[in-house]
């Protein structure tokens, strides 16, 4: 029934001009994806093994870039059910961004070279 709801809602009149056939540069996007993957592999390979947990939480936050898509869907002039989907997606992405960056920083603060070295002990 949610399907019927979505279809019906979507069938409301929409802004003119939206009917233009999409011209998406598929090869350009694929190109970007392949190159970005190689950069990713190169950069991540050199991340310190000490930091694999913070690495995972920071990439969590970065992949919450889905926030961009969520904003477009939630804030656009679309039927209500579509915007609800967008708003929930935006909430989920924002949660990841906030908690991901905060906890990464919290963990990284703990990595120190040589703190409270016991007095008198040899280094």
């Amino acid at each position: 029934m949610i399907t019927a709801f979505l279809v019906q809602a979507g069938a409301e009149p929409i802004a003119a001009g939206a009917h233009a056939a999409p011209a998406v540069d598929f090869w350009g996007l694929l190109f970007v994806f392949v190159l970005a993957s190689f950069i990713g592999l190169g950069v991540i390979r050199r991340v310190s093994r000490l930091l694999h947990t913070p690495l995972m939480s920071i990439t969590n936050a970065i992949s919450a870039i889905a926030v961009v898509g969520s904003i477009i869907v939630a804030g656009g002039d679309y039927p209500l059910p579509i915007r609800i989907f967008g708003a929930v997606a935006l909430f989920a992405s924002m949660t990841n961004i906030v908690s991901g960056f905060l906890i990464t920083d919290r963990m990284l603060k703990m990595f120190k070279t040589d703190t409270r070295r016991p007095e008198g002990g040899p280094s």
Binding site: T3, F33, A36, L51, T53, L55, I65, G76, F85, M107
Partner: protein, 468 residues
């Protein structure tokens, strides 16, 4: 003009994300990486927000506020709970991708069939399958890690499990192909939710046969899926920033998963379809093996005489929250001029790097945290190896016992140390359910008890003696 500003902002955000990950290569610059990431994300959000098509601002402000309200407490969890928090955030990432993909399909369906090109349909189907399976799969993983009551901790297996999973996936892909060929057929909007449901079910079924010891790999794989779902969203929305950021996340998950698999000498397929922890039979009969127990007093005396002590932490240390006591022990030993190193196995704990974070929390300098490959050549010179809640990663059976499920897994050579003390909660075998040969070696002495309590005793002994 707007287009140029947007694209420029997206390029800057991409560059900042790459720098963020680049700076993670050493702890000295890592925090700079967080700032770069935050800057990149802020730019991306603001530039998307000011797009002329975005008009319902309250619809953006409220979810963002809700995101802060949930995100801040989620960032404050104890560090032992970081694996489940990570799994939970993969779930959120998958959910976001799935929802946006769903919304876009119905939107384009209503706007006109010319919008649903084959390319977009393939992208949407990929996005929702990956997104929704990551959502439920990660929720299951988080539930297992958090030890939620109704989520089975032990691997759940049944006959024909892999066949059923594979069949489900094939059905989902088959329906996806049908939708791609006929995106505007009258039955298409009804078929679309079926694909969603199958993906949701598949995510659950994929994770239930997986045991705790495999969690580091599984979390890394789910991380890659969440990233790839974002990439698919980028293809759907024709947005290069989504593609690059998603690809960075995807490759990170992939590399971590490969490292974890190598550290266990297993393949992806074996982790996902092997149901570790169930395979091995309990070897009945044979000679009765005996442990040699030792008291903290005795162990403390041996520790005092050592010049090189290697501590091998494992999940047991996290469970007992013993990392701060370990720090006290470290201080006591350092005070005597003893060299103390921590040997970190890549799969120790429940996620990649888990032990490093816990020890860093306890203020142990990261320069004393040593990787397995680095510490192993020094093990014959090691006077005392103290195993704190680690099990399979120090089991010498991995070297020669061909029938063992951990055969071939690289291990920390704890058995090559002159003396081994192993702290163990009970006499039961470890998570993989395997007897540990190390515990029966003539050089090994067992300290039974809770890791926190036992180390506390050791510290008390050492502190008491130094007082005289």
């Amino acid at each position: 003009m707007m287009h140029a500003i947007t694209q420029l902002a997206y390029i800057i955000a991409t560059a900042l994300f790459i720098f963020a990950l680049h700076w993670m290569n050493t702890p000295a610059t890592a925090r700079k990486g967080v700032y770069a990431g935050v800057a990149g994300m802020t730019i991306a959000v603001l530039v998307t927000w000011i797009q002329p098509t975005v008009i319902h601002h309250l619809w953006i402000i409220l979810p963002i506020l809700a995101g802060f309200a949930v995100g801040i407490p989620l960032a404050m969890v104890p560090l032992t709970a970081v694996p489940q928090r990570t799994a939970l955030s993969h779930a959120f990432g998958g959910l976001a991708a799935g929802l946006v993909g769903t919304a876009k399909y119905y939107l384009w369906y209503a706007e006109g069939p010319e919008n649903l090109t084959a390319f977009r349909m393939v992208a949407i189907i990929t996005e929702i399958i990956l997104g929704y399976l990551t959502f439920t799969g990660s929720l299951m993983a988080a539930g297992k890690l958090q030890e939620v009551k109704w989520v089975p901790q032990r691997p759940v297996t049944y006959p024909g499990q892999n066949l059923i999973n594979l069949a489900l996936l094939l059905i989902a892909v088959g329906l996806g192909v049908a939708l791609t060929l006929h995106p505007t057929a009258p039955w298409a909007p009804q078929l679309f939710p079926v694909v969603i449901v199958i993906a949701l079910v598949f995510g659950v079924l994929l994770i239930i046969p997986i045991g705790g010891a495999d969690m580091p790999t599984v979390i890394a794989i789910l991380n890659a899926y969440a990233g790839l779902a974002a990439v698919a969203m980028g293809f759907v929305l024709d947005n290069k920033l989504l593609i690059t950021a998603g690809a960075l996340d995807g490759s990170s998950g992939l590399i971590l998963a490969i490292i974890m698999c190598k550290a266990m000498n297993r393949s992806f397929t074996n982790v996902l379809f092997g149901a570790f922890g169930q395979v091995q039979q309990i070897k009945a009969g044979g000679e009765e093996k005996v442990y040699k127990p030792e008291t903290p007093e005795g162990a403390a005396q041996v520790l005092e005489q050592a010049s090189l002590v290697v501590i091998v932490p494992g999940y047991g240390m996290a469970v007992a929250q013993a990392q701060h006591k370990v720090r006290e022990l470290y201080d006591q030993l350092k005070k005597r001029g003893i060299t103390v190193k921590f040997a970190i196995h890549p799969v120790a704990g429940r996620m990649p790097g888990h032990m490093n974070v816990l020890l860093a929390e306890a203020d142990i300098p990261y320069t004393d945290l040593v990787e397995m490959d680095e510490v192993n050549p020094d093990m014959p010179q090691c006077d005392v190896c103290l195993v704190v809640g680690a099990n399979d990663v120090v089991n010498p059976a991995a070297r020669y016992e061909k029938t063992s499920p951990i055969y071939g897994m690289p291990i920390i050579d704890a058995d090559r140390a002159r003396t081994i003390f192993a702290i163990k909660r009970s006499k039961n075998p470890g998570f993989a359910g395997i007897d540990n040969e190390l515990y029966f070696s003539e050089k090994t002495w067992m300290l039974f008890g809770d890791a926190k309590g036992v180390i506390g005793e050791l510290v008390k002994q050492l502190a008491g003696e130094s007082g005289h």
